[in-house]
Symmetry: C2
């Protein structure tokens, strides 16, 4: 049996062994949800960037550029960080360069892993099934909010621990706590998370449709991973 553990923030990732593991990066509101939506609706690849300038520079190379800071579209960028923008398939066939406040940093800090997947509720079960085919120990790397624990990423971790119960032993307190919390609140996710600090920030931006999408379960069969070349693609 493999194992699963949870890291609540990129600020704590140095305390975990990444090497040899399958790392699932999670930034539910909204980076990883947007990545899954974009690729499930026909975007061919996503290049993640930690900083705005490197991302912006990709526009001249034929990439759509998506940039978000503090929940808003970054100045001069074509797209922000809204998964709903991709649902009509209007960007199918395009390549996307993307940077977000927390999510792309967590991807950067996961490098060195045996494999990196992108986690989101809309493809939770597909991702869990794929993981079970890989026979690797799993580390869920929550992007958090500016280094702190956040509720939505941690609850996704709990959902994944639960989904992998048959194949991955939970030997660690973070995984145990979040599995308990997801077991308790999973049927009531939208209501429970409406108390979360980041959901409140997003509500202020008037993007309830994004929140509803980000908390919807198992609408896609596609699984998203980082290639050796550093692109996100359907695996």
């Amino acid at each position: 049996m493999n194992s699963i553990e949870v890291c609540f923030s990129p600020e704590l990732i140095h305390l975990h062994e990444v090497s040899g593991k399958l790392v699932v990066v999670v930034d539910i509101f909204r980076a990883t949800s947007t990545m899954v939506a974009a690729l499930a609706h026909g975007v061919t690849e996503i290049l993640p960037f930690a900083d705005l300038e490197s991302c912006r520079a990709m526009q001249t190379q034929g990439y759509l550029i998506a940039g978000e800071r503090n929940g808003l579209t970054a100045p001069g960028f074509e797209l922000g960080n809204s998964p709903v923008a991709f649902l009509e398939g209007g960007y199918a066939g395009k390549k996307l360069a993307m940077t977000t406040t927390n999510g792309t940093l967590a991807i950067e800090k996961s490098k060195g892993a045996a494999a990196i997947l992108i986690g989101a509720f809309p493809n939770l079960q597909a991702t869990a099934s794929y993981i079970q085919s890989q026979k690797l120990d799993v580390l869920v790397h929550c992007a958090g909010w500016k280094g702190r624990f956040n509720l939505e990423d941690s609850l996704y971790a709990g959902a994944l621990v639960q989904a992998l119960r048959e194949s991955h032993a939970n030997q660690e307190d973070g995984a145990l706590a979040m599995e308990s919390l997801f077991t308790q609140e999973g049927n009531n996710l939208a209501n429970y998370l409406s108390q979360a600090s980041h959901a409140k920030r997003l509500q202020n931006h008037g993007i309830e449709a994004d929140i509803a999408f980000c908390l919807s379960l198992n609408r896609y069969e596609q699984v998203v991973g980082l290639t050796q070349k550093g692109e996100l693609r359907v695996v």
Copy 2:
């Protein structure tokens, strides 16, 4: 109304504002439980030390010395980190110098706060009542395990959030998650925490009596705080 937030590890304390707050340091297994037991049973003061050598040096100044590393009594120390050792009152009237793996580090990293209290389940309600007399925002600083989240400290945080519901607004995801978890598991604490990684470590050391003590609720009226001079005393 004041506020309450939770920091899950000394590795994350730089992301929280300590200044102006009442910080409650928590290391349930076993440092803060032992501190509360010692002072409730007549020890007059405790000097916390982050390192073994400074602590050991206090022996020549009339202090009992208590030192623990990785769950065991440190070589050459009179006492380890067992709260049960104090319950008979055999050390009443003595002064104690103490160092532990995680707990004393969390105290060090809390300095600069308006006030520092020591949290433990055996004096939870007394501590909550004292806090309500102080009219300060609260930060629960969990010692964790070698920098990581741990279950017992975090559940204490949840218990304190719940106990302060009438006076301290929970505006932050860590506090929200742990209050939910304590609400769910609080009546079943010993059984739930028997799954926790540190409880398993302690079970291997054969100290079930310590674990039972550390999870027992509200046996003391004494509240423990750090004085300006850096001693722990009943406040």
